[in-house]
Symmetry: C2
Subunit: 455 residues, 2 copies
Amino acid sequence: MPNPVSADINFRAQSQLGELYAALDSGTGREVQRMLQSLSPQSIAQLLESSPPRIRQVLWNLIDREVEGEVLQELTDDVKAQILSTMDTEEMVAIMEGLNADDVADILQQLPDRLMAEVLSAMSESDRQRVESVLAYGEETAGGLMDTDIVSVRPHLTLDVVLRYLRRHEKLPKSTDNLFVVSRQDKFIGLLPLTRLLTSDPSVTVREIMHTDVEPIPAEMPDHEVAQLFAKYDWITAPVVDASNRLLGRITIDDVVDVIREDADHSLMSLAGLDEEEDTFAPIKRTAPRRAVWLGINLLTALLASWVINLFQGTIDKVVALAVLMPIVASMGGVAGSQTLTVVIRGMALGQIGRSNLRWLLSRELASGALNGILWSAVMGGIAALWFGDLRIALIIIAAMAINLVTAALAGTILPVALRAMRIDPALAGGVALTTVTDVVGFMSFLGLATWYFA
Amino acid sequence: MPNPVSADINFRAQSQLGELYAALDSGTGREVQRMLQSLSPQSIAQLLESSPPRIRQVLWNLIDREVEGEVLQELTDDVKAQILSTMDTEEMVAIMEGLNADDVADILQQLPDRLMAEVLSAMSESDRQRVESVLAYGEETAGGLMDTDIVSVRPHLTLDVVLRYLRRHEKLPKSTDNLFVVSRQDKFIGLLPLTRLLTSDPSVTVREIMHTDVEPIPAEMPDHEVAQLFAKYDWITAPVVDASNRLLGRITIDDVVDVIREDADHSLMSLAGLDEEEDTFAPIKRTAPRRAVWLGINLLTALLASWVINLFQGTIDKVVALAVLMPIVASMGGVAGSQTLTVVIRGMALGQIGRSNLRWLLSRELASGALNGILWSAVMGGIAALWFGDLRIALIIIAAMAINLVTAALAGTILPVALRAMRIDPALAGGVALTTVTDVVGFMSFLGLATWYFA
C-alpha cells in the first residue's frame, strides 16, 4: 500500500517551493533565476504546476530560454494552455525548436486553430511535415501519441552493415530499444531489439534474427487501449502503422505513463464531477462555473429526495422521532452503494467486468449487502429502541435499513453497467444516480413503513 | 479524456471470457485447454483476474505447466495469494524456475513465513542468494522492486572489448537499455546507454562516453517515490545501490507502471474505504467483513448528525417543512466539500500542496464556495418560498446553505492537510471526516436558525 504520509520527495519539492517563494517575496529576481538554473526542466515544471497562476507567470518569465520548450512539454494540458496564451507566434516557434514531433503536436493542440496554422507556417518545411503527420490523428489516439523520430533498417542487411550504419549517427533517438525493420515500401515487417543486435554474430542478416511476432499498433487506436497494451505486455516502445501497414512512428513508454495516470485519475475525479486534467491551481473563474454545474445537478436530486419526504409530512408531524432517524437510513445506503459502485467502476476500467461474470458479481454484492444489512440494521434497531423507548420505531428502521442496503448493492452493480450500455460515462454519472436511488428508497421505505404502521 | 465507453480491448477480453465460460459449461476441458494455449500469459492472467474464485481455480488447473510462473507473476497480490494457497512446496519451486529474482520475491512475500522458508531452502544455492538479496528489503521499497539480473562493465575497457564481451552472451536481460559501469569494488560509477555504445567509435573507453550525471536509487527508497522519479525523468531502467553505493540491481519501468497504477487507484478506493489491491472478484467472506467495518464507522457519524437533529425536535414539531428541507442543506454541503477534498487529495498525491501555496488554495476554495453558496442558496430560497409559501423558511435555508457551502470549502481544504500532519491517510479518513462536518454544520445551522427565528 502506498503511504502518502511520508512522501520525502514531495517534502523536497515543497521545500524548494518555499525557498523560491521566499526569494520572490524579497524581490530578488536574480536569486530566483539562479535557483531555477540549478533545477532540471522536470523539477521546474513541477514548481510551476504547484504555483498559483500569478506566481506561475512570474516564474515562467525567469526561466532560461533554452529550457522553456522542455519545461513546457512536461506541463499538463491545462497549465500548458495558460502559459501559451501569453506568448506570440515567434516565441512559440522558437520554443518548439528541438522538441519531438509528438510534443510539438501536444502543444499546438492547446492553441486556437488560427494560431496553430500561424505557428505551423512559421516552421521549417521538414519540421512542419513531421508535426502534421502527428496532428492528422486525434489527440487521444495512438497517432497523436507517437513520435516520428525512428531508426529503420531493411531485412536483407547484415548486422555488420547495420552496426556501421548506426555508428554514422551522432546519437539515436531517446529510449530507442528496437530498430524497426521495414520493406522498400516502408511497410512494417518486424523489430530488431538492440540487445539482440549486440549479442548476435555480425555476419547474419536482420531477417534471420528480427522479431516478427509483434502486432504493430494502428494509428487510430484510442490512447487508453494503447496504455492497456503497454501495461499488459511490458513494452517500452511500440511501432505505429497506418491502415496499409506503413510504419508511421513509435510510441514510447514515458508518454504512455501519462495516459495511465490520467486514466487512473479519471474515476476519482469524475466521481466528484471534476475533470482529470484539472489544474490544482486553476483560477477561480475556471473553477467556480464547473463546480456550479455539478452542484446544480445535485440540487435537483436532493429536491427529489425532499419531495419524497414531503409526501409523509403528516406522519412526521405525528412521530417527530422519524425526522431524527431518517437521514441514517439514507446515509448508510449511500455509503454501502458507493463501495459497490467504486469496485464495479474500477473493475470496468480494468476490463474485468462483462456479461459472463456480472451475475456472479451481483449475487456477491447482494449477499454482502444482505449480511451487512442484517448486522447494522439490528445494531441500529437496538440503538433506536433504547433512544426513543419505542419498539415500533426500532422495527421500522431495521426493515428500512435492510431494504436500503440491498437496494444499494443492486444499484451499485447495475447502474454503472446500464450507464455504460447507454454510452454514458459511469464514473461521471454513477455517483449522482446512485445517491438519488439510495436517498429516495431510504426515505420512502422508512417513512412509508412508518405511515403504514402508525396509520 | 479517456473514454471508458468504447473500450474495444475490454470488449475483446470480455468475449474471450464468454467463449471460455461457454466451453467450461459444456464440460470440455480439452477445448478450454486449447483456448488457453493460444493466449499469452498476460491474457490468461487477465482472464483469471476477471473470474470468480471457483472458475479461477478450474482455469488455473487447465493452464500449461510451463507458463504457470509467467501467469502468476502477472496477477495482483490478492489473486496471487489465493492461487498459491492451493499449492504444495514442490509445485511452488517448480513454478518459480525461470522467473526473475524480483518476481520470485513478490510471490514469496504472499506466503506465510514458514512456507517461504521451505520454498527458499528447496531452491538452488545461487537462485536463493539472489532472491534473498531482494527479500532483504521491504516489499514496498526500491530494493523490493529491483531485479538483480544486470550487465555491468568496468570504466577502463574500450567499447570494442565491451562489444565482444556482449556478443558472448546468449541474450541480455529484458529491457536492457543501459550497461552499468562499476568499480572493482562494485561501486556504481555511471551508465553506458546501448544507444551510445552503438553510435560511438569502438576505440574509445567506457569512461569517456559513460553518463555520470545519474543519481542511483537507494534500496530503501519507498516504491511510490521511485515511481515519481520514473514518471518525472522518463526513465526506463534505473540502478539501485546500497548505503555504500554498491550496485545491487536495477528497477525496470514495467514494475514501476504497476506501482503508478496502484498509487493512482489508492485515492479512489480509499475514499470508499476499500483497499487498492482488492480483488474485484474477492469471495464474500473477504468482502463482507471489510465493508462492515466501514459501514460501522459511517453509522457512528450518521448517529452524530441524528443527535444534532434531535436537539431541535421541538422546532421540527412546530414547522414540519423543516424536516423536508433539511437534507438538502446537508447534501449540498457534502457534494461541495467532496469536490474540494478530491482536488486537494489529488494535489497532495502529486506533491503539489504544501505550506507555501495552501493559503492561496484555501482562499480560492472559499471564494468558490461563497460564489456557489450565493448562487444556489438563492435558487433554493426561491424554490422554498414557492413550495411552502413561507418567506421565513426561504430566508433560513438561504443562510444555512451559504454557511454550509463555505464550511465545506474550509473543511475540504483543511481536513486532508491536518490529517496528513497527524500521519493519518487523508484519502481513507478524509471523506468520512468531511461528511461528518457538513452534516453536523448543515443540520445545526438550518435547524438552529429556524429555532431562533420561530421561537
